[in-house]
Every structure is written in structure tokens, then in C-alpha cells.
Symmetry: C2
Subunit: 356 residues, 2 copies
Amino acid sequence: MKKHNFSAGPSILPQEVLKKTAEAVINFNHLNLSLIEISHRSKEFIDVMENARSLVKELLNLPEGYSVLFLQGGASLEFLMTPYNLLKINGKAAYIDTGAWSTKAIKEAKLLGEINVVASSKDKTYNYIPKNYTIPTAIDYVHCTSNNTIYGTQIKEFPKTDALLVCDMSSDIFSRKLDFTQFDLVYAGAQKNMGPAGTTLVIVKDEILGKTGRNIPSMLDFQVHISKDSMFNTPPVFAVYTSMLTLEWLKNLGGIAAIEKRNEKKATLLYDEIDRNSHFKGFAAKEDRSLMNVTFNLTNEADKETFDKLWNDAGISGLKGHRSVGGYRASIYNAMPIESVQVLVSTMQQLEKQIG
Amino acid sequence: MKKHNFSAGPSILPQEVLKKTAEAVINFNHLNLSLIEISHRSKEFIDVMENARSLVKELLNLPEGYSVLFLQGGASLEFLMTPYNLLKINGKAAYIDTGAWSTKAIKEAKLLGEINVVASSKDKTYNYIPKNYTIPTAIDYVHCTSNNTIYGTQIKEFPKTDALLVCDMSSDIFSRKLDFTQFDLVYAGAQKNMGPAGTTLVIVKDEILGKTGRNIPSMLDFQVHISKDSMFNTPPVFAVYTSMLTLEWLKNLGGIAAIEKRNEKKATLLYDEIDRNSHFKGFAAKEDRSLMNVTFNLTNEADKETFDKLWNDAGISGLKGHRSVGGYRASIYNAMPIESVQVLVSTMQQLEKQIG
């Protein structure tokens, strides 16, 4: 019996993607060779890379002038590549601090210049998204994190700025309709809605690059990777291929508009139960609740053992909350079927019945 | 029919590894979850990472005081991480230039300090390993590339130096017995003898770190990765797991001593034919010939069409030489069975028979 997988990341992927990618590890494209033992310079793999990049452009409705890259190093390396590529020597940038990942991004950027943290929700363990902050003028870029897995918050309205807008979209890219023309740089680790751990998606507006005056190391330079079509060095072949399959799955399903509806339905089902059932309380501020990561706690900690047994018995896995928040976190990414959310809601209702 | 896969990298992996890793993509360790959809913080994946690291230590007979890391970014990112971690501010380093990969390593290191290229075989398209060069005193480290895939050369005797010794061992690690106490830092992209593209092995002597006076970005800092047991950020789960399986395969086979014998036998078979058959000539200097990549050319370029048809018909793939050398390159890494080398030798003998 397949588990109901609520893991925060690496996380659930479509079953058909897992099946196809396992087949390719044995025999890829009827080549009588494994996907992972062919040259990345082969026509077959170049096709995979090009298809993956063009699916990203199509699904996100990217306008002309943006490049799509599949790199390595995760969002964590992008925390460094962002200032290397966008922060002028003696330049400044503004960061919105919405949690642990923003904090890490700020730390790395500070190595290269003056970073202004213009808003933070640290005062309430990041359970809300800051609003009504002022972005200083004369900055090179504004950086934000669209979705905060640990706390279950999500930005609904992105900062308005004349500076460049950068977004770490690791945990909610491909989950909802967004106007990408508002962003100049978007990056995302694959291991939530796109694929397995091991590759990082970068979407960057070409015209913003090459303007910092910095001598950028090759592997950290977006222009180097663009000029080599994401093949400056050997790409993570398996992760790129599996991402391509997941993007194809999403396209066949009806694209972002279709998945957004499914995601809203799943989230509503779960949040409604949290709000209705007096044994649970939501962690994040209602207006900032994430469609991807639903964080909640027991009203009475003494019920923990009972509830944990209920969801374990129901075949649910990955529900434990992050240590900094406690309680529970149900990550309901694109590939999560509504049936699994229904199973979780049932166990919450069972708890109510058992303890009255 | 499985192909005879002579690809230079990503390259052949053991068949049983491909089978097991494909199974894990469907259902890992009877968890009823895929390997690529579980948390890297799960006990099951932490076991994989620890097992992979301890297999490296065991197979290479590493002494106490060395750390083993599985990172991302390939050798290309190590070209930058090496000087970041070892080159003092205003320090100097010496590099041996044995080809395209050394050249790239030199380029990145130059961003951080004074780099002396103390020897180069560029004068003869890198078809030999330089010897009898002088390493200056008062340098922080010496950097060399143990095996040069493009040209088919391999270092047999490593530089003797009082400075730190760094080696890019991407294309021949785990292929021959070496005394690792002579090295202070070794790195290797996985995609030859260790696993699929997507992870990089780093072996570093702990006591050499933290001495440059540099403020190193987190993702480029070996000490950060060591302190987090290679889990500072989400590791490339699939690539690490497949590497672990390949290392287990190697251990079960008898370890490095056993594979070295097999590798010598395969290489001898092929080099003997190149030297015997007047229709072929080897590219690399005899004393520097690689056990991993056998480079050769036709004596008469007019035979190309005939020979290409012969090996294609025999089910051989990946034999084309690198564009900078031309001709042929037979990469005969650890997982290549001797039967495939025999098939290649037979096609060479067939050419001889056909054209006399």
C-alpha cells in the first residue's frame, strides 16, 4: 500500500513520473542504455534539456527576454549567486525576512554588500507575511521568499518596486497563476513541485545581467550558464529528466490554471477542518495561509499520542511539524491527490469522535 | 541487446546497480515510498549518506583525520572551492597543466590569488604528463589532475612537495591503489567510477581547513559541509544513493586491489592491439597511458567509414574521440566488462582483415 506522503521536501511526485523515470534508468528511449550512463552531449539528452526548458516557459507563460536554467546547488547556492550577479560593487539590496530561508539568503548576500532587511515577521515566529513596509530607493534589488514551508505562510501580493525583484520560489513554483513579468530573477530548488532533489531552476531576465562590475566565478555566473544552455559542466541528468517528466504531467493535466484549482480545493478542505474542529488550531495568520504547507497544532498537547497513532494507522507519513514550530505540517504539493487530504481530515474527525 | 558502452562520462555503471536504483525509485527499502520522495532527514536516507561515506573511507583506506563529503556542482565548482578553502589572502599556488580540466581549474583559481603554472604539456596537445619540473617554495598548495579523459593520459607518480597536495581525481578515483596520505584534498565528479552525474566526492584533511583568513560563503566552505555531515542543504538524494550502491558493488568484488587487476587486464588487451595493428596508432605517450581512457587514431583517415560501420554494427557506442584530439576514445571504467573490450578488439582485427 502506497503511503499518503505529506513530506515537506523532497516530497511526493506523480506516480506515473516515478514509473517512467525508473524505466529510463534501465533503458532510456529504447537506446539499450540507461539514462544515467549516456553522454549529456548526446542528442537524446540535449532534447531532454531543451524540452524541460521549453515546458517551463510554456507553463509559466514567460515573456520573451527570460532565460531558463537547470543548475546544481539548490536554492542555497542561489543565495550567493543572486548578489554575485545583481549586486553592484558598493551596491545595496533590500530583503524581506519571512523565515529561516530568507535569513540564510540574507546571511550570504551580506558577504557581498550592504543588505537592508526592510521587513521581518520574526517577532511572531514568522507566522505572518509583513505588509506596509517601505522599500528604500537606490537599491539594486528586492529579495523575497514566496512560500515559507516551515511556518505555512505564502506571499499573496508581491512587493511593488522600481528596483529588480528577486523571488525564491522553491516551495510553490508551478502551483498557482502568477504574472512573471513582475519578477527579474526567480529560483527554485526542484524538490517540491518540479522533481527530485539535485537540480535548481533559475529564471532570469537577460537584460539585467552583466551590470555589477564584478568578476564572477564561472560556476556562479548566470551569463556563463546561459551561453552554454545549462551545460557549462555536466548537468544532473537524472534530476533534469525527472523534472521534465513532472512538467509534462502538469501540462497534460491542464497546466497551472488546472493545478491551482486542485490546490485550492485541497487546501480549503484541510483549513476548513482545522477551523471547524476544536481539537486543532492553525499556526499561520489566516490571510497569509499557504496553499502548499498547512501548519497546525493540537489545542491540547495531551492528545498527541492518540492523534499520532490515528494518522500513522491511516498510512500517513511526513506529517511532523518543523522543530521550530512544533505540531503538524501537511505539505500538499501539486502531486498530492485530494484523496490523501481526505484521509488526513478523516483522522482529525476520528480524534474528535474519540475524545469528544 | 545492451550496448557496449564506451562513453567518457556520464558512463557505464554496473547492471545490478542500475536495477537496484530503479527499484528504489519505485519503492525504497520496503517503505512504500520512492527514494526520491522521502525527506533527506529521514533515518533511512541518513543511513544511505553514512554508508556511502564509510564505504569511501574503507575502499580508499583513508587514515584518520580525513573527512568525506558528497556535494553538488561537479569538479567545476571544486575549481573554485579549492582556492577559497586553501589559498591564503595574498597567497600563491602551483598548478600542473595537463589539459582542458587543469586549464579550467587554473582560470577559476586566478580569481582568488597568484597562480603559478609550473608545468604544462600543452605544446603537444597534452599527449604526455610533464615531469622534472620545479615547484616553487612558499606556496599554499600544488594542484594536479590525475587522469585526463580527453587525451588518455594519467599521472603515475604524483608531485612531491612540502606544500599541500590537491588532486582532481574525477576520472580515475576508485580505479587503482594509491596512498591517500600523500593528498590533502581530493575531489571527483561522480559520473565516471562512482555513480551518476549530480554529486561530487570531496576528501579533505581536516587540519588544513580554516587557515586562509577568508570569509568563505557557506556553500563553498568545506568546514560548513563537514559540520553538517554533507546535509547543509538538501543533498542530491538519487545520485548519493546510486553512488552508495556502486561502492557496495566494488567492495563485494574485492575492492580496489581487485578492480585494479581487472582494469590493467582490460587496458593491456586494448593497448596491445593498438600497438600490434598497423591500422591504428595510440595518441598518448606510452609511459603516461591511462588505464581509464584509451585514445587512438586510424593510421589512414580514409578507413574511417569502414571502421565506424564495423563498431556500430558490433553494438558499440560512445567511441568517438573528443573534438580537440579526433579519432577514438575507448573509456573503460570500472564497470566495463572485459567482454566489451574484446568486442572492440575484434572489430579492430576485422578492419585489418577487410583492408589487409
